[in-house]
């Protein structure tokens, strides 16, 4: 028999209840601290492991590279061609490129697309070509893609020239088991998106989206490499971009493959993103560098924006990364030209060609602190779960406060022993109506803001900023009406129940003395049971609800999009846990202001102050990302984050008792 079983059930409940009330708030703050420290420790070297290739079939860099000096000359010739046609209108340059691919002997075609968002209109033409691998059955394919526009907003000349040169190189070989598709997409991300949709037979023919069906196809796409080599010069280093839409990540083996090739067959300096960091032995500097790289990744994951066109593939279960040529004059590493790039790409394609199965090793969840170091899900998941649990603990203690159920015992005399039993009911009534109504209204308001922001009304002078102002107006109306209604209601209850209250206080004192003396007087027991405590304050119920929902959201999101969950969790944990209505109005107002600062519009202001100085630009960017790529940022903000925030603002402004 265990220690706890010696006690009666009621006593156990009492102990548990006391624990909840006295320790849980403290414990939850401790957990928040632990979680924060853990998160900050993640970039540290001791928390990350060296990457390794998990899929044995890949065999990176083991095949001899065929890309030779003649191919390099061909690439340079193509570079001139691409440069010449780059300035042509979309349709003409797409057709010119189609001819170039056809001349190599590949099946090539173009695809028109139109995309009309609420604010902008896009039209473009993609070019694509398929290299049918001889001897293969064409059930599988690898994609090499490049956009006309580099991430530097210049022409992606070298990348497109490289695609043509590689097409020529591959045509010589007969060792490919998968078809290779070359895609040169127009526009920013919408071009490749239109192509991918059409490839998977999901093309639309509406006014908003029109995508031409594809004429040439191959099999199921197994992996994709997106090239971004802007300009016509040489490069210092190769950057890898991997964050996809809504924080999806490609299999780490994609990065590992490039990593091994860049160390062996085609030596180039490799880095994450476009940051070049000098090597250092200094522990602090190393830590800060890792932290910065990790934050970069988490930032893009949290807002759900891909860092390149590779991000669009992930939705279709195609692993993809972007290879970016970094041109940083003055950087110490050796510069490399198209010859090296060609060898690297050919080796990478050969490696992916080796795949017998779709990449499936458990390598989809990771944080990279360096191109060769990763933190696995087992290490980064606990802090966000601890954060979620701290919310729950706080909510539980509040829930306990609003009742006396586990604390108050009455004694039943049976023969010669007294058995303590719990009261079968709570003496303090929990009025959940106000809290649930407020929360419900907040969610409805959030939905309304989403509707306002994404619908086109066709009014004169309609702009995203105006819609946001309208949304904020709707929200403030909710806050004002809810808060004033609550205050008025408290006043009415107060004035209406003065007489009752006086009697209740009398009973209260009598009851408490009775229970503390723990006598077995049946009259007293009745007294304990009969007396009614004042119902729990509305703000306690509302705060309990907010905290419970926050825990739900943070833990659920952590599985879907870790970075978003961490950002939300870290942002709201302290305000939501610590803030409560104060007797001093000033404190309440300060709390409300802080909550406003972390509300979606507040965060938008902060972001615009940090980046572009123009809030409307940030807003239209969010809207565009939602409409074109379908990122979750706007829906999450409107349906989840903002309602909680509104409820919290209402909570701190509610009357204290």
């Amino acid at each position: 028999m265990g220690f706890l079983s010696r006690l009666s059930k009621a006593q156990r409940q009492q102990i548990f209840g006391r624990f909840v009330l006295s320790w849980m708030p403290t414990l939850s703050y401790i957990m928040v601290a632990v979680s924060f420290f853990w998160l900050l420790a993640l970039p540290h070297q001791d928390y990350s492991k060296r990457t390794y290739v998990s899929e044995n079939a890949l065999l990176p860099g083991s095949a001899n590279v065929q890309f030779n000096w003649n191919d390099n000359l061909a690439a340079e010739a193509y570079r001139d061609t691409v440069q010449r046609i780059a300035s042509l209108p979309s349709i003409e340059r797409a057709q010119a490129l189609e001819l170039q691919f056809a001349a190599i002997g590949l099946k090539s075609a173009t695809q028109n697309y139109t995309l009309n968002t609420s604010t902008e209109s896009f039209h473009g033409v993609n070019t694509y070509a398929v290299f049918y691998a001889p001897r293969s059955d064409g059930t599988e394919a690898i994609v090499l893609s490049a956009s006309w526009l580099s991430r530097d907003k210049t022409t992606n000349t070298n990348a497109i020239a490289m695609l043509l040169a590689l097409g020529k190189t591959f045509k010589r070989g007969s060792h490919f088991s998968k078809d290779i598709i070359f895609v040169v997409s127009d526009g920013d991300a919408e071009g490749l998106q239109a192509w991918l949709k059409a490839y998977h037979g999901n093309e639309e023919h509406t006014y908003e989206r029109h995508e031409e069906p594809l004429r040439v196809r191959s099999g199921a796409i197994q992996a994709a490499l997106n090239l971004d080599f802007a300009g016509t010069g040489d490069y210092n280093a190769l950057g890898i971009f991997f964050e996809g839409v809504n924080g999806q990540l490609p299999n780490l083996d994609m990065i590992n493959t490039i990593n091994l090739i860049s160390m062996g067959i085609a030596p180039v300096e490799l880095t994450l993103h476009d940051e070049l960091v000098p090597y250092t032995d200094n522990m602090t500097k190393n830590y800060l560098n890792s932290l910065r790289k990790m934050l970069y990744q988490m930032k893009y994951q949290a807002v759900g924006t891909p860092t390149g066109n590779h991000g669009l593939y992930l939705k279709y279960k195609i692993d993809a990364i972007t290879l970016y040529g970094i041109d940083r004059p003055g950087w110490h590493s050796h510069r490399f030209n198209l010859f090296r790039v060609g060898a690297l790409l050919e080796s990478a394609v050969r490696s992916l060609n080796n795949l017998l199965e779709h990449l499936h090793q458990s390598f989809f969840f990771y944080l990279l602190s360096d191109v060769r170091r990763y933190t696995s899900i087992g290490l980064y998941m606990p802090p966000v779960i601890i954060l979620g649990v701290s919310f729950i603990f706080q909510a539980l203690s509040l829930w306990g406060l609003s009742s006396d159920l586990p604390l108050e015992l009455e004694s039943i005399v049976e023969g010669d022993t007294t058995i303590p039993v719990a009261l079968p009911y709570s003496r303090r009534s929990r009025n959940f109506k106000v809290a649930s109504t407020t929360m419900g209204m907040a969610v409805v308001t959030g939905a309304a803001t989403f509707f306002l922001l994404t619908t086109e009304f066709g009014l004169v002078g309609e702009s995203p900023m105006l819609k946001l102002v309208a949304s904020v107006g709707v929200c403030s109306m909710l806050v004002l009406s809810a808060v004033s209604a609550a205050h008025v209601r408290t006043r009415i209850i107060k004035s209406g129940s003065t007489v009752q209250k006086a009697r209740a206080t009398h009973n209260d004192t009598k009851g408490s003395s009775g229970s503390s003396s723990s006598s077995s007087n049946s009259d007293n027991t009745h007294n304990v049971a009969d007396q009614e405590l004042t119902p729990a304050a509305d703000w306690i119920m509302l705060k309990t609800l907010i905290l419970a929902l926050s825990a739900l959201i943070v833990t659920t999101l952590s599985a879907l999009n870790f970075s978003l969950a961490v950002s939300i969790g870290v942002l709201i944990v302290l305000p939501y846990m610590a803030f409560r209505p104060s007797r001093w109005t000033v404190v309440s107002i300060i709390e409300a202001l802080i909550l406003l600062a972390i509300s979606p519009p507040g965060l938008m202001m902060v972001a615009s102050w940090w980046y572009v100085k123009d809030p409307s630009e940030v807003l239209s960017w969010v809207l565009r990302e939602y409409e074109i790529l379908g990122t979750w940022l706007l829906p999450t903000a409107c349906f989840v984050y903002w309602p909680l925030n509104l409820a919290a603002v209402i909570m701190v402004l509610l009357p204290v008792s």
């Binding site: 028999m1 265990g2 220690f3 706890l4 079983s5 059930k9 002997g105 049918y132 001889p134 001897r135 293969s136 059955d137 064409g138 059930t139 599988e140 045509k171 010589r172 007969s174 998977h200 037979g201 999901n202 196809r217 099999g219 199921a220 939705k315 279709y316 279960k317 017998l356 199965e357 779709h358 499936h360 090793q361 458990s362 049976e414 023969g415």
Partner: protein, 620 residues
């Protein structure tokens, strides 16, 4: 000396055949002369994209020596003696009562829009096997099983995997190809009153790789193996380094005379390969020794005919862009007229080779190593099939059939889908030139649909279509993907499952750029007994030819597909997690129990409370 022993063999064979004929003349059965014969041909054709198409065809005949009234098919005493006909095939036909057998191994994809149609009738990637079996004793399924297993052993291929979950019985496609069956001869013909019930069995393996181990047994079926004749060019190193490689065995009964009084069993072995000659240096020039890295030093002594036929390139506008070396001794034939004109050069190896001591050489040189202009190819029907949608839960199938002819085409579409794709026929939708079609009757004239049964038979969709002139017809249908039992996944579970091709059978008007002139049966083209090779064939089948007009029966194959089903994570971490979780839950359960469970005796009633309490104390 080398040639003498086969000659002797042939002589002895002839003697044996004669003696056999002599012995049977005593019976009342009238005997007609049908000699055994072997023909070998190689057809070469340069393709527009620089590839060279090569088609080897070896035909072996074995006479049935019986007339209509007494013919009893494969079960006759045909398979008692073998000279040229391979015994291994004969025994298979005999023991499984096979009327007609077609087995094709293919690697790579046939590019219809670049290359037109192939001479060989089957071009679907993987292995295709179909047979008409005698159903006299209702043993078709057993025989089919035996047949697949035996062929599997004979050709070193996984044909035994064609089990009942793959096998189908098409209703409209894959009709008999033999000449005296219901399909080829008008019903009024007296041959048609055959009462022998026959059943069709069809199966394909889309992901079967073809390699040397399949080629070697195939070569063994030839009378001269690869020692002499055209077959000596078959070097596996070169053959399997091509863009398309197909190897087939066809067995069927054919008529030997116009009235079909004499019949014989015909074994046709074909190898089709498309060489990419322009791969290395971009030059379209080719030579026989360059393509195969081997030479023909002598024709097969057992062969009745031994020919190399070159379908010369169809150039547009500019004449004399190329030169063929050596020039054919009999000059160049021309077939067709206008745009459809096809020049043909024929080399009779039995005449060419004895004249010289050097091996047979053949080369084609382009002026400037590349053609200046080529006549574009527009194949009559091109089909394209692909999966739509993404994710592992549901998907869709889309089939696009483009009819480039200026007339309506009757076609039969056959699609076999494995049972783990649950088709929803109510989602079946037809689009004609991009517009959804309400009245499907005009287009789909007949439709057979066999729903799949889990783990026992595939879904079969067969449609008789009328494709409007110059149109694009698109069918779409949705399906759900089944969650398989974990033991049903292959070792490479994450690769997905291969779904075989769809087949479109159509009677197509003869088009320009089409390789060969098939007619009803492509295989009979080059096997005339008379010397006038191509012309002879046409005169022989003139009646039929006129009736049919200038049409060819073609089968168009779509590409095979890969479908990814919901796959459990079979990886190591998954196993570790499941193990650990199980252990932890067991451990936690028992420990929690010990900690928290309170053993108490329930007090029965207030009166007996004293006794109950004592017991409670004892337990504590």
């Amino acid at each position: 000396m080398r040639a003498s022993s086969p000659c002797l063999l042939l002589l002895s064979g002839a003697v044996l055949a004669l003696s056999a004929a002599a012995s049977t003349t005593t019976d009342t059965i009238p005997i007609l002369k049908a000699p055994e014969a072997f023909h070998e041909q190689l057809v070469l054709k340069p393709l527009n994209d620089g590839s060279v198409y090569s088609h080897f065809q070896f035909t072996t005949h074995i006479g049935t020596m019986m007339d209509d009234d007494h013919f009893d098919g494969a079960a006759s005493n045909l398979f008692k003696h073998y000279n040229l006909f391979p015994r291994s095939i004969g025994q298979i036909l005999h023991s499984f009562e096979v009327e007609e057998l077609h087995l094709t191994f293919t690697q790579g994809r046939w590019q219809y829009s670049d290359w037109g149609y192939p001479l060989a009738p089957s071009a679907g990637t993987g292995v295709e096997l179909w047979a008409w079996l005698n159903d006299d004793k209702r043993q078709t399924d057993e025989h089919w099983k035996g047949l697949t297993n035996t062929l599997s052993g004979l050709f070193c291929a996984s044909l035994n995997f064609i089990d009942e979950t793959i096998t189908t019985e098409p209703k409209l496609s894959f009709r008999n190809e033999g000449l005296y069956n219901t399909h080829s001869v008008p019903p009024t013909h007296n041959n048609n009153n055959s009462t022998i019930p026959r059943r069709l069995r069809y199966g394909s393996l889309p992901h079967e790789n073809v390699c040397t181990e399949n080629l070697t047994p195939w070569i063994k079926l030839l009378p001269c193996k690869s020692k002499a004749g055209i077959a000596s060019l078959l070097k596996s190193h070169k053959l399997f380094d091509t863009r398309f490689y197909s190897m087939a065995v066809h067995v069927r009964s054919v008529c030997e005379d116009e009235k079909c009084r004499i019949r014989s069993l015909e074994l046709v072995q074909t190898i089709t390969a498309v060489f990419d000659v322009a791969r290395h240096d971009g030059s379209f020039d080719w030579s026989l020794s360059g393509l195969f890295e081997r030479e023909i030093t002598q024709s097969c002594p057992l062969a009745s005919t031994s020919k190399v036929i070159v379908n010369l390139p169809q150039t547009a506008d500019i004449e004399n862009q190329y030169s063929l070396v050596p020039h054919p001794p009999q000059g160049i034939h021309s077939e067709g007229s206008g745009d459809k004109k096809q020049d043909i050069a024929v080399y009779d190896l039995q005449k060419v080779l004895p004249e010289t001591t050097t091996p047979f050489q053949l080369a084609l040189h382009w002026e400037g190593s590349r053609p200046k202009s080529a006549r574009a190819i527009t194949p009559g029907i091109v089909a394209h099939r692909y999966f739509t949608g993404f994710g592992q839960e549901r998907g869709g199938l889309a089939i696009e059939i483009r009819n480039n002819n200026s007339q309506d085409i009757e076609a039969v579409y056959l699609d076999t889908l494995p049972w783990y794709l649950k088709l929803y026929l109510h989602t079946f939708n037809i689009q004609l030139n991009g517009k959804s079609l309400d009245n499907q009757r005009d287009l789909v004239q007949k439709m057979f649909y066999q729903p799949a049964v889990d783990r026992s038979r595939p879904a079969v969709l067969e449609m008789a279509l009328r494709l409007p002139a110059n149109s694009l017809v698109k069918f779409t249908v949705s399906f759900d993907k089944v969650f398989l039992k974990y033991t049903e996944h292959r070792p490479d579970a994450n690769r997905g499952f291969d779904v075989g091709y769809a087949v479109i059978t159509a009677q197509l008007p003869r088009e320009q750029g089409q390789i060969g002139y098939g007619g009803l049966d492509h295989l009979r083209i080059y096997q005339e007994r008379e010397a006038g090779l191509v012309q002879g064939r046409r005169s022989g089948n003139r009646e039929e030819e006129e009736k049919e007009g200038e049409t060819d029966k073609m089968r168009v194959y779509t590409d095979t597909l890969l479908v990814s089903l919901p796959t459990p994570d079979f990886s190591m971490p998954y196993n570790v997690i499941t193990m650990t979780c199980t252990v932890i839950s067991l451990f936690f359960g028992s420990v929690f129990n010990l900690m928290m469970r309170n053993f108490e005796v329930v007090k029965p009633a207030p009166k007996k409370s004293g006794k109950g309490k004592e017991k409670a104390e004892k337990t504590e």
